[in-house]
Symmetry: C2
Subunit: 134 residues, 2 copies
Protein backbone atom coordinates (compact mmCIF):
# COMPACT_ATOMS: atom_id res chain seq x y z
CA UNK A 1 0.00 0.00 0.00
CA UNK A 2 1.20 3.49 -0.80
CA UNK A 3 2.06 5.92 1.94
CA UNK A 4 3.34 9.47 2.02
CA UNK A 5 6.52 10.32 3.87
CA UNK A 6 5.91 14.00 4.45
CA UNK A 7 3.74 17.08 4.16
CA UNK A 8 5.11 20.43 3.00
CA UNK A 9 3.30 23.72 3.40
CA UNK A 10 4.62 26.76 1.54
CA UNK A 11 3.11 30.02 2.71
CA UNK A 12 3.65 33.50 1.34
CA UNK A 13 2.53 36.08 3.88
CA UNK A 14 1.82 39.65 2.77
CA UNK A 15 0.91 42.75 4.68
CA UNK A 16 2.96 41.91 7.77
CA UNK A 17 4.19 44.74 9.99
CA UNK A 18 7.77 45.76 9.22
CA UNK A 19 8.79 45.42 12.87
CA UNK A 20 7.73 41.77 13.05
CA UNK A 21 10.01 40.82 10.17
CA UNK A 22 13.16 42.90 10.44
CA UNK A 23 15.05 41.59 13.47
CA UNK A 24 16.65 38.17 13.61
CA UNK A 25 15.87 37.93 17.33
CA UNK A 26 12.16 38.13 16.57
CA UNK A 27 12.50 35.62 13.74
CA UNK A 28 14.27 33.26 16.10
CA UNK A 29 11.54 33.61 18.73
CA UNK A 30 8.94 32.98 16.03
CA UNK A 31 10.43 29.73 14.73
CA UNK A 32 11.40 28.36 18.13
CA UNK A 33 7.88 29.16 19.35
CA UNK A 34 6.36 27.30 16.41
CA UNK A 35 8.47 24.21 17.11
CA UNK A 36 7.40 24.19 20.75
CA UNK A 37 3.74 24.86 19.97
CA UNK A 38 3.61 22.00 17.45
CA UNK A 39 5.66 19.69 19.66
CA UNK A 40 8.26 19.13 16.95
CA UNK A 41 11.79 17.86 17.68
CA UNK A 42 14.57 20.34 16.97
CA UNK A 43 17.98 19.14 15.81
CA UNK A 44 19.54 22.58 15.34
CA UNK A 45 18.61 26.12 14.34
CA UNK A 46 20.38 28.78 12.32
CA UNK A 47 19.73 32.47 11.68
CA UNK A 48 21.09 35.38 9.72
CA UNK A 49 20.44 39.12 9.90
CA UNK A 50 20.49 40.90 6.57
CA UNK A 51 21.53 44.50 6.13
CA UNK A 52 19.73 46.85 5.76
CA UNK A 53 16.53 44.77 6.08
CA UNK A 54 15.32 41.29 6.76
CA UNK A 55 16.34 37.96 8.18
CA UNK A 56 16.57 34.27 7.37
CA UNK A 57 16.10 31.35 9.67
CA UNK A 58 15.91 27.58 9.52
CA UNK A 59 15.29 24.90 12.10
CA UNK A 60 16.38 21.39 11.21
CA UNK A 61 13.96 18.91 12.75
CA UNK A 62 13.91 15.19 13.34
CA UNK A 63 10.82 15.57 11.13
CA UNK A 64 12.49 17.69 8.35
CA UNK A 65 12.59 21.51 8.58
CA UNK A 66 10.98 24.91 9.05
CA UNK A 67 12.35 27.96 7.23
CA UNK A 68 11.63 31.65 6.89
CA UNK A 69 12.92 34.45 4.68
CA UNK A 70 11.68 37.97 5.27
CA UNK A 71 11.46 41.17 3.24
CA UNK A 72 10.18 43.64 5.84
CA UNK A 73 10.35 46.49 3.30
CA UNK A 74 7.64 44.65 1.35
CA UNK A 75 5.75 43.38 4.43
CA UNK A 76 6.46 39.91 3.05
CA UNK A 77 7.66 36.61 4.51
CA UNK A 78 8.15 33.22 2.83
CA UNK A 79 7.56 30.32 5.20
CA UNK A 80 8.10 26.60 4.70
CA UNK A 81 6.95 23.97 7.17
CA UNK A 82 7.89 20.50 6.00
CA UNK A 83 7.41 17.63 8.40
CA UNK A 84 7.21 13.87 8.41
CA UNK A 85 5.24 11.83 10.87
CA UNK A 86 1.99 13.64 11.50
CA UNK A 87 0.12 16.22 9.47
CA UNK A 88 -1.31 17.80 12.59
CA UNK A 89 2.11 19.10 13.64
CA UNK A 90 2.69 20.65 10.22
CA UNK A 91 -0.52 22.64 10.41
CA UNK A 92 0.01 23.60 14.05
CA UNK A 93 3.46 25.03 13.36
CA UNK A 94 2.12 27.09 10.45
CA UNK A 95 -0.86 28.19 12.53
CA UNK A 96 1.48 29.54 15.20
CA UNK A 97 3.53 31.48 12.66
CA UNK A 98 0.48 33.01 10.99
CA UNK A 99 -1.14 33.96 14.29
CA UNK A 100 2.07 35.63 15.39
CA UNK A 101 2.78 37.53 12.17
CA UNK A 102 -0.86 38.52 11.48
CA UNK A 103 -0.55 38.89 7.68
CA UNK A 104 -3.26 40.65 5.71
CA UNK A 105 -3.00 38.11 2.94
CA UNK A 106 -1.85 34.48 2.81
CA UNK A 107 -0.99 32.41 -0.26
CA UNK A 108 -0.57 28.83 0.86
CA UNK A 109 0.42 25.75 -1.08
CA UNK A 110 0.37 22.24 0.27
CA UNK A 111 2.31 19.35 -1.17
CA UNK A 112 2.49 15.75 -0.06
CA UNK A 113 6.06 14.56 -0.54
CA UNK A 114 7.57 11.12 -0.85
CA UNK A 115 5.01 8.60 -2.01
CA UNK A 116 6.32 5.09 -1.43
CA UNK A 117 6.64 2.62 -2.88
CA UNK A 118 7.29 4.80 -5.93
CA UNK A 119 6.23 3.65 -9.36
CA UNK A 120 9.59 3.95 -11.03
CA UNK A 121 8.16 3.02 -14.42
CA UNK A 122 6.45 6.38 -14.70
CA UNK A 123 9.69 8.26 -15.19
CA UNK A 124 8.47 11.82 -15.00
CA UNK A 125 5.34 12.66 -13.11
CA UNK A 126 3.15 15.66 -13.95
CA UNK A 127 1.01 16.91 -11.13
CA UNK A 128 -0.62 19.98 -9.83
CA UNK A 129 -0.78 21.02 -6.23
CA UNK A 130 -3.57 23.11 -4.86
CA UNK A 131 -3.48 26.18 -2.78
CA UNK A 132 -5.95 25.86 0.04
CA UNK A 133 -7.84 28.42 1.99
CA UNK A 134 -6.64 28.90 5.52
CA UNK B 1 4.66 46.76 -12.09
CA UNK B 2 4.57 43.40 -10.37
CA UNK B 3 7.72 41.42 -9.80
CA UNK B 4 8.50 38.10 -8.17
CA UNK B 5 11.00 37.87 -5.34
CA UNK B 6 11.94 34.21 -5.64
CA UNK B 7 11.67 30.87 -7.37
CA UNK B 8 11.24 27.63 -5.42
CA UNK B 9 11.75 24.18 -6.92
CA UNK B 10 10.58 21.18 -4.91
CA UNK B 11 11.88 17.88 -6.27
CA UNK B 12 11.10 14.37 -5.08
CA UNK B 13 13.71 11.97 -6.40
CA UNK B 14 12.99 8.23 -6.48
CA UNK B 15 15.08 5.25 -7.40
CA UNK B 16 18.36 6.70 -6.12
CA UNK B 17 21.13 4.31 -5.03
CA UNK B 18 21.18 3.71 -1.27
CA UNK B 19 24.87 4.59 -1.05
CA UNK B 20 24.36 8.05 -2.54
CA UNK B 21 21.83 8.98 0.16
CA UNK B 22 22.97 7.39 3.40
CA UNK B 23 26.08 9.26 4.49
CA UNK B 24 26.06 12.84 5.64
CA UNK B 25 29.52 13.39 4.12
CA UNK B 26 28.10 12.62 0.68
CA UNK B 27 25.08 14.82 1.30
CA UNK B 28 27.39 17.64 2.30
CA UNK B 29 29.49 17.22 -0.85
CA UNK B 30 26.30 17.19 -2.91
CA UNK B 31 24.88 20.46 -1.56
CA UNK B 32 28.17 22.30 -1.44
CA UNK B 33 28.82 21.19 -5.02
CA UNK B 34 25.42 22.50 -6.11
CA UNK B 35 26.09 25.90 -4.54
CA UNK B 36 29.44 26.18 -6.31
CA UNK B 37 28.09 24.95 -9.64
CA UNK B 38 25.24 27.46 -9.58
CA UNK B 39 27.44 30.27 -8.28
CA UNK B 40 25.21 30.86 -5.26
CA UNK B 41 26.41 32.65 -2.12
CA UNK B 42 26.57 30.50 1.01
CA UNK B 43 25.93 32.00 4.42
CA UNK B 44 26.19 28.77 6.42
CA UNK B 45 25.52 25.05 6.10
CA UNK B 46 24.24 22.43 8.52
CA UNK B 47 23.98 18.66 8.39
CA UNK B 48 22.71 15.75 10.43
CA UNK B 49 23.28 12.01 10.17
CA UNK B 50 20.26 9.90 11.09
CA UNK B 51 20.51 6.45 12.59
CA UNK B 52 20.12 3.86 11.16
CA UNK B 53 19.58 5.52 7.75
CA UNK B 54 19.55 8.85 6.07
CA UNK B 55 20.69 12.42 6.41
CA UNK B 56 19.44 15.99 6.39
CA UNK B 57 21.21 19.04 5.14
CA UNK B 58 20.52 22.72 4.58
CA UNK B 59 22.54 25.57 3.17
CA UNK B 60 21.43 29.07 4.01
CA UNK B 61 22.14 31.36 1.10
CA UNK B 62 22.21 35.07 0.51
CA UNK B 63 19.54 34.06 -2.03
CA UNK B 64 17.42 31.88 0.40
CA UNK B 65 18.18 28.14 0.87
CA UNK B 66 18.81 24.64 -0.41
CA UNK B 67 17.69 21.63 1.62
CA UNK B 68 17.71 17.86 1.38
CA UNK B 69 16.18 15.04 3.38
CA UNK B 70 17.00 11.46 2.44
CA UNK B 71 15.40 8.06 2.99
CA UNK B 72 18.03 5.73 1.50
CA UNK B 73 15.98 2.68 2.47
CA UNK B 74 13.34 3.92 0.01
CA UNK B 75 15.80 5.25 -2.56
CA UNK B 76 14.14 8.61 -1.98
CA UNK B 77 15.33 12.19 -1.46
CA UNK B 78 13.34 15.41 -1.02
CA UNK B 79 15.15 18.44 -2.39
CA UNK B 80 14.27 22.13 -2.18
CA UNK B 81 16.10 24.83 -4.07
CA UNK B 82 14.67 28.24 -3.30
CA UNK B 83 16.53 31.27 -4.56
CA UNK B 84 16.00 34.94 -5.16
CA UNK B 85 17.76 36.95 -7.78
CA UNK B 86 18.01 34.84 -10.89
CA UNK B 87 16.05 31.80 -12.03
CA UNK B 88 19.03 30.40 -13.87
CA UNK B 89 20.87 29.70 -10.61
CA UNK B 90 17.86 27.87 -9.18
CA UNK B 91 17.72 25.51 -12.14
CA UNK B 92 21.47 25.04 -12.23
CA UNK B 93 21.63 24.00 -8.58
CA UNK B 94 18.83 21.48 -9.09
CA UNK B 95 20.45 20.22 -12.28
CA UNK B 96 23.66 19.50 -10.39
CA UNK B 97 21.83 17.58 -7.67
CA UNK B 98 19.84 15.49 -10.14
CA UNK B 99 22.89 14.71 -12.27
CA UNK B 100 24.78 13.59 -9.19
CA UNK B 101 22.03 11.45 -7.63
CA UNK B 102 20.81 9.94 -10.94
CA UNK B 103 17.22 9.21 -9.85
CA UNK B 104 15.03 6.88 -11.91
CA UNK B 105 12.04 9.12 -11.38
CA UNK B 106 11.64 12.84 -10.64
CA UNK B 107 8.54 14.66 -9.41
CA UNK B 108 9.22 18.36 -9.62
CA UNK B 109 7.09 21.31 -8.60
CA UNK B 110 7.95 24.91 -9.30
CA UNK B 111 6.52 27.86 -7.45
CA UNK B 112 7.14 31.56 -7.88
CA UNK B 113 7.17 33.15 -4.44
CA UNK B 114 6.68 36.69 -3.30
CA UNK B 115 4.77 38.73 -5.85
CA UNK B 116 5.11 42.41 -5.09
CA UNK B 117 3.43 44.73 -4.75
CA UNK B 118 0.87 42.34 -3.26
CA UNK B 119 -2.80 42.96 -3.76
CA UNK B 120 -3.80 42.94 -0.12
CA UNK B 121 -7.47 43.32 -0.98
CA UNK B 122 -7.61 39.76 -2.20
CA UNK B 123 -7.24 38.29 1.27
CA UNK B 124 -6.80 34.62 0.45
CA UNK B 125 -5.46 33.62 -2.90
CA UNK B 126 -6.28 30.31 -4.57
CA UNK B 127 -3.75 29.10 -7.08
CA UNK B 128 -2.32 26.01 -8.60
CA UNK B 129 1.30 25.39 -9.35
CA UNK B 130 2.44 23.12 -12.11
CA UNK B 131 4.88 20.33 -12.09
CA UNK B 132 7.11 20.61 -15.09
CA UNK B 133 9.01 18.04 -17.03
CA UNK B 134 12.72 18.03 -16.45
Amino acid sequence: MEKTLGLHILADLYGVDFDKLDHVEDIKALLEGAVKYANLSKLSSHYHQFNPYGATGVILLEESHISIHTWPEHGYAAIDVYTCGGKEKTFKAMEYIIKTLKPKRIDEKISERGIIPANLEEGINIERIDLVQV
